[in-house]
Amino acid sequence: MLKLRDVKAYYQTPKAVIQAVDGVTLDVFENEILGIAGESGCGKSTLLKVLYDSVQPPLKIVSGELTAEMKDENGQTVLLGPGEIRNHWWRFISYIPQGSMSVLNPVIKIETQFFDAISKKHNLNNKKEMHERIAAYLKELDLPVEVLNSYAHQLSGGMRQRVLVALGTFLHPQIVLADEPTTALDVVIQKSILLMLMEVQQRMKNSLVIVSHDMGVHYQITNRIAIMYAGKIVEVGPTEQVFNNPKHPYTQMLIQSLPHVGDRGERKGISGRPPSLIDPPKGCRYAARCPFVMDRCRETSPELIEVEPNHFAACYLNEMKGA
Amino acid sequence: MQKMRNILRLNRRLQVGSILILIFLIFGLVLPRFSPYNAIDWNVVPRNLPASKVHIFGTTSLGQDTFWLLTFAIQNSLFIGVIVAFFSTAIGVLAGLTAGYAGGVVDRVLSLLMDVFISVPSLPILILVASLLQGKTSLLTIGIALIVFNWPWPARQVRAIALSMREREFINTARFSGKGTLGIVVYEIFPYIFNWSVANFVNTVLVAISTESALAVIGLSSVQQATLGTMIYWALQYQGILGKKWYWIGSPVVAIVILFIALFLASTGFAEYSAEKRGRQSA
């Protein structure tokens, strides 16, 4: 369980302040797969860094709260704030990166990179026992155990990504964050890895947060989805509801613009460009590109309101319909 | 803040280096014109005089005014340095470009030549050349020998840049815009190489002067002409250290140290400054 309340995280560089995450309120529930969708530059990777509590200069949390509820060894719930979460990396919360080739150290064995993640803080440091545990876990994911004894360059793209998934989940963390885990992969391998992630989540009953720009990926494997645009969450809710009945114009346009095999109907891209995050416009950030824009949208920025049971959207259109 | 301070620091390194080099240029090119006597001739002034208003650095035990001798030495050393640096950088860039861009057998042969000329130690062969010429070695022959052993360093680096350039997509765009191979090498690849070769030029000046004066210190350079190295050689031959003639032995040593640090600061400063500028431009 992770709670974000109106969190603002900015990149403060001498030249400019980039408001990458600008007032995000989001919950990550237990035993669910939450998708974070959005296009390049919308702040989804920054949000993931905030969730993982790996905020380093020039990125800084400017305001808002982030609390994590961790179950310790004997089941008690412990509240953790920013700065404390990082002491429980890999056991409570882990991270699966995107680039598969450049993320594994090329000159040391895969097994050593597993040991690095455990030995120090988790008092499991006799090599023999650790090797057994990891080998057993790999078998569970039907990965060849020889992988441990080989180097990164000896593995194919798909295998490297599977190793990263295994690396991120073998300590059974309560939360797993995955940043575009399959973007660099071919479609066939991508499917097998996404299915693998789903199986691991279902077996461990933990929370899996997946960041991806590909709406198809979200449709296939997430239970809940949050759509980000220009540093804010514009819509969040159960995947089925969001896809069947999108309540924010950006979500609607995004879903409508995706071509389908078997349906040649005309698809339109969204005109214009996302606003700069250095001095974002007053009011709703999608106003410049929104076909239903009203004066009110240019004045104030709409808040997330519940348009259907736990389906939220930040757009004044819903208020008028609702009223 | 780190980035801003970084850029300032770079400029400072470049500024310090260039100011010092400017001083040496004045020292080496302008002052010798005003020398009252031909500093290289012996017994032009009374020997072993201590420093005085007339002879700022005193005189050597060969009857030369140390200060004016130093200016001549700097002039010749800079002369050799620039000539060697110019030709070895020019040859190096040319060889590097052809090897990098042509590829195939040409690349294999050229890069093999580069590896060989880098791994063969240059000094023993220079010693062989100098000893056979028995002191009749002119600065020119030394210069040529230095060029032969210095061109591979820039060549290797330029080849690496050209190889990485060849894969870049805009080279294909240029080709499809009707540009010929020459046009591509000059207009597309050269802008990337130019900054780096200026930095390498300055660095090669340093290497050339250092090797020449190394030969001179062991008496194998042209001892008739005054260079920083030969100055040290004659000082050693006439017990400069024992006789505590600090000006005579000290001035070339200090000159070399300051000149080399200046050249190093300028070359690294310029290389990083241009990388910074290019970085900002295509940030």
Partner: protein, 332 residues
């Protein structure tokens, strides 16, 4: 299989370096304006002994035969190469007549190897360690200080350092003797201690001359690698900063430093040569210098050929260490 390809390519370069190096050594005396014979004759006549023309031509003939300058060029080239590379016999030395050249070299080579080996390794290890520190923790004050020292030391050439050390520790603070003197039977404890004591100064000049460059190159490498994805991911795995520096940054940064070491052995050798001459250290450098001063042609050709072969071999050895550190070459 890839290691075999790596080995073959390195061996090819190794033999070519020696071949081309020796060819240059072979052709230099034959193409330069003044040939070695008139140089030697000049030396003999200038030392006062007058000789009749017949004696001069007889002397010229023996010298020609001694210097292997008879027969057609290819013949000379062939037997020069076979003598130098296969048998290693460079004929007799004139200045230490009748001592054969290769015996003289056999005496002085171990000294050079000892001096060069120890000082290069010390400079490389110390330089890389400091460079790693300054690169990985570039923000710290000591990084800036160490970098400042490296920037000051690196450009100063070996012989200037040698001179400065001589002036400081021989004349101003007379700690070391002026000339190199070794006491006791070879390899007796006394011999060894005095040998080490005497080679501290030349060794120091080589170390200081070289380690500035290793600091700067390692600093650039390690600060670059510190930004790599696998280092960031290691941080995110909660790996300790020490382990990251050692196992992630150093293990990757050291690879180009090994290749650089192999390439720069030639330049380090140049520096050692001069340091030996200035300190009178009894190595190959001083032997080369005496050959030059005495215009002892055979000794000169011998010492220079051996220098080229020694440098090429050292470079090969360092190159062959590389695969031990880089698994991408060993394992397919």
């Amino acid at each position: 299989m890839r290691f075999a390809r790596f080995l073959v390519s390195r061996l090819i370069t190794y033999f070519l370096v020696i071949l081309i190096g020796m060819t240059i050594v072979f052709f230099v005396p034959r193409f330069l304006p003044s040939d070695p014979i008139s140089a030697a004759l000049g030396r003999i006549t200038s030392s006062g002994s007058t000789m009749t023309p017949a004696q001069v031509s007889a002397m010229r003939d023996t010298l020609e035969q001694l210097y292997g300058l008879q027969g057609t060029l290819p013949e000379q080239y062939f037997n020069f190469m076979s003598r130098a590379l296969l048998t290693g016999n460079f004929g007799q030395s004139l200045s230490f007549y009748p001592m054969p050249v290769n015996q003289l070299i056999a005496q002085s080579l171990p000294w050079t190897v000892f001096l060069l080996l120890t000082s290069t390794i010390i400079a490389w290890v110390v330089g890389n360690f400091i460079g790693l520190l300054t690169g990985y923790r570039s923000g710290k004050w000591y990084s800036k200080a160490l970098e400042g020292i490296a920037i000051f030391l690196y450009p100063i050439p070996y012989y200037i350092l040698a001179l400065v050390l001589i002036i400081l520790f021989v004349y101003i603070i007379p700690v070391f003797p002026i000339s190199f003197s070794v006491k006791g039977k070879p390899f007796s404890p006394e011999f060894i201690s005095s040998a080490i004591f005497n080679s501290i100064l030349p060794g120091l000049s080589i170390i200081i001359g070289a380690f500035g460059w290793w600091i700067l190159s390692m600093k650039a490498l390690s600060s670059g690698i510190a930004e790599e994805d696998y280092v960031n991911f290691a941080r995110m795995k909660g790996v300790g900063s020490g382990t990251i520096m050692r196992r992630y940054v150093l293990r990757n940064a050291i690879l180009p430093q090994i290749t650089l070491l192999a390439i720069s052995i030639g330049t380090i050798f140049n520096g050692a040569l001069i340091a030996e001459i200035l300190f009178g250290y009894p190595g190959l450098g001083t032997l080369t210098y005496t050959a030059v001063v005495q215009t002892d042609y055979n000794l000169l050709m011998g010492t220079i050929s051996i220098s080229i072969i020694a440098v090429a071999t050292a470079a090969l050895v360092v190159d062959l260490i590389y695969p031990l550190f880089d698994p991408r070459i060993q394992y397919r």
